[in-house]
Symmetry: C2
DNA sequence: ATTATAATGCTCATATTAAGCATAATTAAT
DNA sequence: ATTAATTATGCTTAATATGAGCATTATAAT
């Protein structure tokens, strides 16, 4: 059962590189925001991850704090110039600050420019009730088959709710795919489909917007059970800064007092002893991340009704 | 920033194929348990996933219910016979029953034969206190550098606890890697390292045991927030059967009454109206999975102190 | 009948989460 | 100097969820 004669392919690495600037989530793009940075996997790299690190750091002159694999796919539609098949492996990277501008045109973009409906920090985006839901409903009603119609309605409901409540911020990719299927959003490289009046939100080339959606979704899920936010924070920070950072990523407002309680229960941070006074209000204590925390601590995450070992 | 001249590689697909037989978690293996089924990614397949489905179903003559990508890696150590680099993409697959035996030698194996320390269904495995912890401690004590020593101790503690409590069943891969680093377990293909007396637990060739660990870990995490167990269950089942299935996967005993409460709160199953009487006790109601449940229902999973939309 | 084995119903204590009131300490504006 | 606006921080209350276990019911096997 060995591979008999697998055909050769080339490997392309894509990166969703995230930073936070002024409480906004930023993603590194090229070509006027139309592409995610990509690089080849070269033979001198011992592993894929070192490959990503190498070319990202070469391009950006910044160390890449945290790197995590996102997804691998081989899309038949995308063929290499030499006719070889292309397999794309995408990574999520977190970095601490704006990177230095290179010679080319890499630019940080607010990720909500690509997904305006994902930002609920200032309440439900009017776009959803005003445009997305009506057009999705038209799409579901247009289904001939009753079963298909019901299924579409259910998907709309799960992913967008009523546009005012029950928002699950992790469903970034599912929502994007739903909008794509409903023809409200365009994606280059896909089988040509005319999209009459696409929703607000910048497109990207190839499937890069989809990869970005995957990265956002992963990060939104991860901040809930691993202290990855700190990769994006400065060395010291106030609790409100930390809250704003998480709000930026999750795209939702948090309850301030409860957020603080949570943070200090977790014991992830410690006071530096210093006090900020930049805040235009009562001065806040400064904190730092306790790096000595073991990241993989028994995060519990039970959800199963275990019995005691007896 | 296009890939200038990426070198060609071949793609190998690996599958961790899981089923449940008599309340034991089984994984499909080849070559007397030494390999996971693998197949090449061929050019006629539109996507990777269809590639996996195709050859698994061809080999096993069974439909593959659920498929999910696990991880992609390119290990420098593993080179294709033609000298080309090999990139492995692994998948987790769930299937409902034993598959029909093919002409070759595919066999279902209890996965705890590969990871005996992972089965806590009948309490803490004596192997941990009796052998693993002492040997790990010897390893951590052998570190020259104080910092390394502390770090090793901490990892041991997080991953194995005291061998009696605070067990986190999701850390399958981390534990395996720890044992590997400590030289208690052997892995073929890795830089030759003599392992004097490996722990009980079957090895596999290449890095297949590591891939299996990844699959188990993923499945153990997933059953907590997605109803994937039902892919492994017969059409109808009693609640105890369901409990035993989850216990088999999680490797831990569950509290019966609380398990039942949880299940019916979630509304994932419905009574069929029938009654089993095979159980040697009070007859149990039979249930079926409510397939119409939208799998991606707003699983909440909050952990963030949100505010109300106001 | 009696015993063993499961299935089920319920209760109680504790922990976690959601919401919000109240107070303190600053800066910016009158 | 007062007042208003902001932000930080302490605490309370209610609602839910979770962990343990007691008690009762319905069968099969002896």
């Amino acid at each position: 059962m060995k591979p008999p004669s697998a055909s050769a392919v080339t490997i392309e690495l894509n990166a969703v590189l995230v930073a936070l600037t002024a409480n906004e989530p930023q993603v590194l793009t090229l070509d006027d925001g139309a592409l995610l940075p990509s690089g080849p996997f070269e033979s001198e790299h011992p592993t894929l991850q070192t490959g990503v690190r190498a070319w990202v750091e070469r391009q950006t002159h910044h160390p890449l704090g945290y790197v995590e694999q996102l997804y691998t796919f081989a899309d038949r539609n995308r063929a290499h110039e030499h006719g070889r098949r292309v397999v794309s492996i995408s990574y999520l990277g977190l970095t601490r600050e704006r990177l230095s501008r290179g010679a080319r045109d890499p630019e940080w973009r607010n990720w909500y420019r690509y997904f305006p409906w994902e930002d609920w920090r200032r309440g439900p985006p009017p776009l959803i009730v005003g445009e997305i839901l009506p057009r999705l409903r038209k799409w579901s009603d247009a289904a001939g088959d009753m079963a298909v119609k019901r299924e579409r309605r259910q998907r709309i409901d799960v992913n967008f709710g009523d546009g005012k409540e029950q928002w699950n911020e992790e469903l970034v990719l599912q929502r994007y795919e739903l909008l794509y299927e409903a023809g409200l959003v365009l994606e280059a490289g896909a089988p040509a489909r005319p999209v009459p009046s696409p929703l607000p939100g910048m497109p990207m080339r190839h499937d890069h917007r989809r990869i970005l959606a995957t990265g956002i979704a992963r990060l939104r899920a991860k901040i809930k059970y691993r202290p990855v936010v700190f990769e994006l924070m400065p060395e010291t920070f106030t609790l409100l800064q930390l809250q704003r950072a998480i709000e930026a990523l999750a795209g939702r407002p948090l309850h301030k007092q409860n957020f603080r309680r949570l943070i200090d229960q977790q014991g992830l941070v410690e006071e530096t002893g210093e006090i900020s006074s930049q805040t235009g209000g009562r001065p806040a204590k400064l904190y730092r991340f306790r790096r000595e925390i073991v990241l993989e601590r028994a995060v519990g995450g039970s959800k199963l009704p275990l019995t005691r070992p007896t």
